[in-house]
């Protein structure tokens, strides 16, 4: 029992600690890739503390409700992962969180917010099936959706499901809102859509969304780590490698439009998943 509580607390702490540091590392590395010095590692914490202490401006009550629900669902998903619960349950909880954020953006009448929300819906439409295909691949390999079974599996999953790991990296790029798939809420797109999804969230609410994004980052990186679940060190190595790849990709590519997102995301994702599943399980049945 005390072991469970410890795991839960570790999950709660992992979001602000690991997510914030990943975000800080991302900003430094991006700056260095652009021949700049960049902000200090703790910059994301400064941003969030400042946002939480700003004046609260709420467009309507639904917006605030949706942000709280988004944060709650995302934190719950990470805690469930730390408790090694069911993979499908974690995915559904995470999806609920993602949809609440879209509903919050839809609650405002700002056209930028609306466009951002529609694009975010398209992103969810692209990555959710792919995430489930990854989960199905893990189930076919280990015979269980429960993470306890996955963690006890003797062979690293990446050797059996390498293409599905590639699909997960594609999902990671979309979830971390990185180029070329940063079309719903890009930081650098103010000429095009101000701040997209986040346009009408400000102050403390934006700070809470940022904290939820840390938890989301940790959840997605934990998923990546699952492909080499032989202890904390291999998991961290794999997750770090995935983050580096995403940052490189972010700096090397331009933003695509939603047609490209749908076309490339689905075509590449589905094809890679199916090839991996058919190739690996052809003789298994």
């Amino acid at each position: 029992m005390s072991d469970l509580i410890l795991r839960g607390v570790a999950g709660l702490l992992a979001g602000p600690l690991l997510g914030g540091l990943t975000s800080g590392l991302d900003r430094i590395l991006t700056a260095r890739l652009q021949a700049r010095q960049g902000p200090p590692l703790q910059q994301p914490y400064y941003d969030v503390v400042k946002l939480l202490a700003k004046e609260l401006v709420v467009v309507n009550a639904w917006q605030a409700f949706c942000v709280y629900s988004h944060l709650f669902a995302t934190v719950l998903a990470v805690v469930l992962f730390a408790l090694q619960a069911d993979l499908l349950l974690i995915l559904f909880t995470e999806a609920v969180g993602a949809v609440f954020l879209v509903m919050g953006a839809m609650a405002s009448t700002s056209p930028y917010s609306q466009i951002g929300a529609h694009r975010e819906l398209l992103q969810i439409l692209v990555y959710e099936p792919l995430l489930f295909l990854v989960a199905i691949g893990i189930y076919l390999e280990t015979g269980s959706f429960r993470l306890t079974a996955v963690f006890q599996w003797p062979v690293p999953l990446i050797t059996q499901l390498p293409l599905l790991f590639g699909v997960l990296c594609l999902v990671l790029v979309i979830k971390l809102r990185k180029s070329p798939f940063d079309l719903s809420a890009a930081t650098h797109a103010h000429q095009e859509l101000v701040r997209g999804l986040f346009t009408d969230f400000s102050g403390p609410l934006l700070g809470l969304i940022e904290i939820a994004h840390w938890y989301e980052t940790v959840l997605m990186l934990a998923f990546c780590g699952l492909f080499w679940a032989g202890g904390l060190l291999p998991m961290t190595t794999l997750a770090l490698a995935a983050v580096m790849g995403v940052i490189l990709m972010d700096n090397a590519t331009a933003r695509l439009n939603w047609r490209w997102l749908l076309g490339y995301g689905w075509l590449a994702g589905m094809t890679l998943s199916l090839i991996n599943l058919i190739w690996h399980f052809r003789g298994a049945g």
Partner: protein
């Protein structure tokens, strides 16, 4: 301002943390209020790798709701005074304003023109004036850093309360 002259921060550890975070994380909104674009080019030059203001945590945002600092260039005229006041009103407190360039300070050479009201401070309260035609990027960064010092002086709650008034 040297370190010795810097005003003491007040309050407990939470207040000091908030003030520190505000000084280290200013998001700025840049509004061209009828400038000739000379000052705007210098403002944007601050964001290039050469000056790299992101090392101070400064991010250029396109949304008044997210901004802490308003950088205004150019004169205020009868058409854009309403827009300027509106942008200022949409910013969440605490907020600071930096007027940039001769035109932003007083109207500059357009001061006597029929349609020109004058400098930025005729419409909204200005916290720092950066002179020059156009000012160098170093001067703009210096002006912004001096405004940030003012974030670190008052009590965080008072800072929010003060900024709420509509000009």
């Amino acid at each position: 301002m040297s370190i010795e002259q810097r005003p003491r921060r007040c309050g407990g550890w939470l207040e000091r943390l908030i003030q520190h975070a505000r000084v280290r994380s200013p998001w700025l909104l840049h509004f061209d209020c009828g400038s000739c674009n000379g000052c705007d080019i210098e403002v944007l030059a601050c964001l290039t790798p050469l000056y790299d203001v992101e090392r101070f945590g400064i991010v250029n945002v396109g949304n008044p709701l997210h901004a802490d600092l308003l950088l205004v260039t150019g004169t205020v005229n009868r058409r854009n005074a309403r827009v300027l006041a509106n942008l200022y009103r949409q910013m969440a407190a605490p907020k600071k304003v930096v007027a940039i360039g001769a035109c932003g300070l007083s109207g500059g050479i357009f001061r006597e023109a029929d349609n020109v009201i004058g400098g930025i401070d005729r419409i909204i309260p200005v916290d720092c004036y950066v002179p020059g035609c156009p000012p160098r990027p170093e001067a703009i960064i210096d002006g912004v850093m001096r405004v940030l010092e003012r974030f670190g002086t008052g009590h965080p709650k008072e800072d929010v309360a003060k900024g709420k008034g509509i000009p």
